[in-house]
Subunit: 447 residues, 2 copies
C-alpha cells in the first residue's frame, strides 16, 4: 500500500484490507476453538507493579494518566499502583489465572486475541500498537509435558490454515541448553543464553568473544556452546548430535527427552513444519523449558511470527504454582506482510452481495421488504437511498464492489443483474440465491 | 456474579461469561454485515489535539506517556501532539474518513466494534474500559436523510437479535427542537437543549427554573419548551401535537418532516420498537438532526444502551464536508446486565464437544488421529494428556463441561459416551456427529 499511517507505528487498514485481517482472525479463532480453547480477554490496563513484577522488562511501556487529574503530575509514572497498557498477553493472563483460579477448571486452555502496545521505535514488522493471538494451557500445581507437544501442533495447524507462505517452527528447550552449559562448567546459564540469543545478529565469532569476555568462558567452553547452538535437525537426530558432544548432565537429559517428544510428534502430525533448532534462546527470562520461534520462509527478515514456550513459575498464589505453556502469533506483523506483498486478497471489498435499486422515490419501503427477504436467507443486501437513473444506481454498486443489483418494476416483477457479466434474469426475492462463491467474501492466497 | 473486578471499572469475564459476550458480538457483526456495513478498526490512540478538536469535552480522557521516556514529565499532558486513548469511536472514525477519503466509496458504511476508555468514576453500567459497537454512514458533501431512517431500522434489528429484554429507541430531532425554541423567541438553543437534557435527572420544575434563571426565558417560554419535551408518541401523531402548540418556524418544519419519516418507517419495519420522544437532547454538541437514545424496558436505570444521531459537521477537509449519521451500542453495559441478572446463558462452558480418552500412555498419537478426524467435520475435540483411570478422565470432562468422551480400545474399537445421559455406543471417527444442538455452544435467553 502506498498509504502510510498518520501516526507512525499505529497501522490502520482500509475496509478491503480489514477483510484480510478478519479472515486471519476468524481462521485462528476457528482452529483454536476446534481444539477446545476458550476465549478470554483481559483489560488493556495493568498496574505498573504487575507489569514490572518479573524484574526489569525490556519492553517500552505506555503509562496512563487522566488528563483532567491535576495531581497526576505529582505521582511518579513508575509508581507500582499507576496504570499502564499491557505489552503482551502472557503477563496479564498469568494475573487473570491467579485472580480467578477458584472459577477455572485446570488444566485451563484459553485463546486470547487482543491489541498490545509497546512504545518502541517503529520499523517494518514492528508496530507500537499490534494484535497478538495467544494460546496457553495452564495447570494447577503441575502441567504434563504433553501440552508442550500439543501447543506446537495446534499452532502449526493454525498457521497452516492462513494465507501465508511456508513457515517453520524452530524449537529448543532451555533445560537442554542450561544442562549443557552447566555440564561444560558455565554456571551463569542465563548469561550464556543472552549471548547465544545474539547469534543471528552478530555472528558466532562475536558471540565467542562475549562468552569469553563477559562470562569468563575458556575457548573450549565457548566453542562447545556454539557447537550446540549450530545443531539443527528436522527429525530427532539432534539427540545423537548432542550426545556426540560428550557432555553429561541430568537437566540436559531431561531437556533432550522433552525436545525429542515434541519433534517426534511434529514429524508425524505436522511434517515439514518443525525443526529442532538449538540456537533458539528467547530473550524473556520466564521460560523454563520448551522455547519456540517461527520464521516465514522467504521473509526471514520479518523476525519471528510466532513465539513462546513453557513457563513454570510465571504465576503463583502463595505456595500454589500455575505452570503454563503457550505460543503467541504476531497477527499485525503477518497481516502487514500479507498486505504489503499482496500474498492474499479479498474477493470483493464489501460484505454486500446485492443492491436493491429504487424504481421511484416512493418504492423505498417496498425495496426494504425485498432486502429483508434476501437477508433472511443470509444474503447481505443494501437498498439504494435515492431513485436516481438506473445507470447511476448500477454505477454506485460497481464503485462499491457489489456484484448484483436488483430491480422491481411497477408491476412488482423482479429481476436481478450480475453487473460483472451483464447477465440479467427474473428472480424471486423469496428464493433467489447467489452462488456459494458470491455469498460471502472470501480471502484467497496468491501462492 | 459474586466476583468483583480487581481494578475498579475494568470488568473481565470468566470463560463462560465471555461466551455470552462473543454471542452478542457475533450477532451484531452478522446483522451489520447483512446490511452491507464494512468492518474497520481505528487505533486506540489519538492525539490530544484530535480528541479536543470539538472544544471542551466532558469525557475523562486517559493520556499516554512512555515510562522509559525521561523527558515526558516536561511535556504537558494536554499538548495537542501528546497521545491519549480514544473515548468513543465517532471522533476517531471522522478522522479516519478524512485521512482515507481518497480510498473510500461514499456513502461509506462501516461498523466498528472496539474498546474505548473513560477515566470516570465507575458505577453500575459505567466502566472505565468498555466495548462499543458502532454503525455509521458517511457521505461526501451530502448524505440523503434516508440513511437516518435506515440506521434506526438496522439497530432495531440488531438489538432485536440479542438475548435482551424489550427495548425502545427514543428518537428526537435537533432541528425540530431548535426551530421550536427559536420560534418561541429563545435564541440560545444549545443552552435550552442542555437544560432539557437534565429533565430526567432534576424534573420539570427545576428545568423551568434553569431556563428562566440561566437563559432569561419568560414563564411562558419555559412552559412551552417543557410542553414540547413532554410529547411522546409511538406513531406520527406527535406532528399534530407539536402543531397544536402554535409555533411556526422553517427549521421546526424541516425537523418535523424528518422525524415523521423515521417514525413512519419504524411503525412499518420495526413495530413497537421506536417512539418519537421530544425530550431527548443528547449532551454532545456535534449532533445536527436526528438524535437517539435507547432504553431497556425494566432496566431504565441502566441508562441508554444505544445512542447517536446525525452529525453534519464533524468531519471536513478544507471545504469538503463529510456529513454522517450513526448509532453506538454499549456492548459492555448490555453484557454486564445480561450476566448480572442472568438474562441469558451459554449451553456449556467450553467450545469442546468431545474429550478423546487415553487407553494407555502410548495411545496419545492414535488419539490425536481420532481427534483430527472429528475436527475435520467441525467437531471441537480435546485429547486427554494422561492415561489415568477412565473414571478420572470422565470426571475431568465433566468438570470442564465437555458433553462427550471417546474411547478406543486396544483392538481399535471406538465408542462414544454422552456423560450427561450415560448412554454409550459404537461410533466411527470418520462419521459420528453430535446433534446440531451440541455441535456449537449456543447462548439462550432466559425470557
Amino acid at each position: 500500500m502506498a498509504r502510510t499511517a498518520s501516526l507512525s507505528g499505529f497501522p490502520e487498514w482500509l475496509p478491503e484490507e480489514r477483510l484480510v485481517e478478519l479472515h486471519v482472525l476468524d481462521t485462528l479463532r476457528r482452529t483454536f476453538e476446534l481444539h477446545g480453547f476458550s476465549s478470554i480477554e483481559t483489560r488493556a490496563v495493568e498496574t505498573v507493579g504487575q507489569l514490572l513484577r518479573k524484574g526489569e522488562i525490556d519492553k517500552e511501556v505506555y503509562g496512563l494518566s487522566r488528563l483532567q487529574d491535576e495531581e497526576a503530575d505529582t505521582v511518579p509514572r513508575t509508581d507500582p499502583h499507576a496504570l499502564a497498557l499491557h505489552f503482551d498477553l502472557t503477563v496479564p493472563f498469568a494475573r487473570y489465572v491467579v485472580e480467578n483460579a477458584g472459577y477455572l477448571a485446570f488444566p485451563f486452555r484459553r485463546y486470547q486475541i487482543q491489541k498490545v502496545w509497546r512504545g518502541e521505535r517503529p520499523q517494518e514488522g514492528r508496530a507500537r500498537e499490534f494484535t497478538q493471538a495467544d494460546i496457553d494451557v495452564v495447570g494447577d500445581g503441575e502441567l504434563p509435558f504433553r501440552y508442550d507437544v500439543e501447543i506446537a501442533l495446534v499452532i502449526a495447524e493454525a498457521l497452516n490454515a492462513l494465507p501465508i507462505p511456508d513457515f517453520l517452527l524452530r524449537i529448543n528447550n532451555r533445560k537442554l541448553a542450561e544442562g549443557f552449559y552447566t555440564g561444560i562448567g558455565l554456571t551463569d546459564t542465563a548469561g550464556v543464553l543472552r549471548s547465544i540469543d545474539k547469534l543471528e545478529k552478530v555472528g558466532p565469532a562475536k558471540v565467542a568473544e562475549l562468552l569469553k569476555e563477559e562470562l569468563g568462558a575458556t575457548g573450549d567452553q565457548a566453542q562447545a556452546a556454539l557447537k550446540l547452538a549450530s545443531i539443527r535437525t528436522k527429525d530427532t537426530s539432534f539427540v545423537e548430535q548432542v550426545r556426540a558432544l560428550g557432555v553429561t548432565n541430568e537437566l540436559l537429559e531431561e531437556g533432550l527427552n522433552e525436545l525429542e517428544q515434541v519433534i517426534a510428534a511434529a514429524v508425524q502430525h505436522a511434517p515439514g513444519r518443525v525443526v529442532a533448532d538449538l540456537s533458539i534462546a528467547r530473550g524473556l527470562d520466564y521460560y523454563t523449558g520448551t522455547v519456540v520461534e517461527t520464521i516465514l520462509l522467504g521473509h526471514e527478515q520479518l523476525g519471528s511470527i510466532c513465539s513462546g514456550g513453557r513457563y513454570d513459575a510465571l504465576a503463583s498464589k502463595g505456595n500454589r504454582k500455575f505452570p503454563g505453556v503457550g505460543l503467541s502469533i504476531g497477527v499485525t506483523r503477518l497481516v502487514s506482510r500479507i498486505l504489503s506483498q499482496e500474498l492474499a486478497k479479498a474477493t470483493r471489498s464489501v460484505p454486500t452481495v446485492v443492491l436493491v435499486t429504487l424504481n421511484n422515490d416512493d418504492s423505498w419501503g417496498a425495496a426494504q421488504d425485498v432486502a429483508e427477504q434476501l437477508r433472511s436467507r443470509g444474503i447481505a443486501t443494501e437498498v439504494a437511498a435515492k431513485a436516481e437513473k438506473f445507470g447511476k444506481q448500477i454505477k454506485f454498486a460497481d464503485r462499491r464492489g457489489i456484484p448484483f443489483v436488483w430491480f422491481t418494476d411497477d408491476d412488482g416483477k423482479h429481476q436481478v443483474k450480475d453487473i460483472r457479466t451483464g447477465e440479467q434474469y427474473d428472480a424471486d426475492p423469496d428464493a433467489w440465491m447467489p452462488s456459494e462463491e458470491d455469498l460471502h467474501v472470501r480471502v484467497t492466497a496468491a501462492r
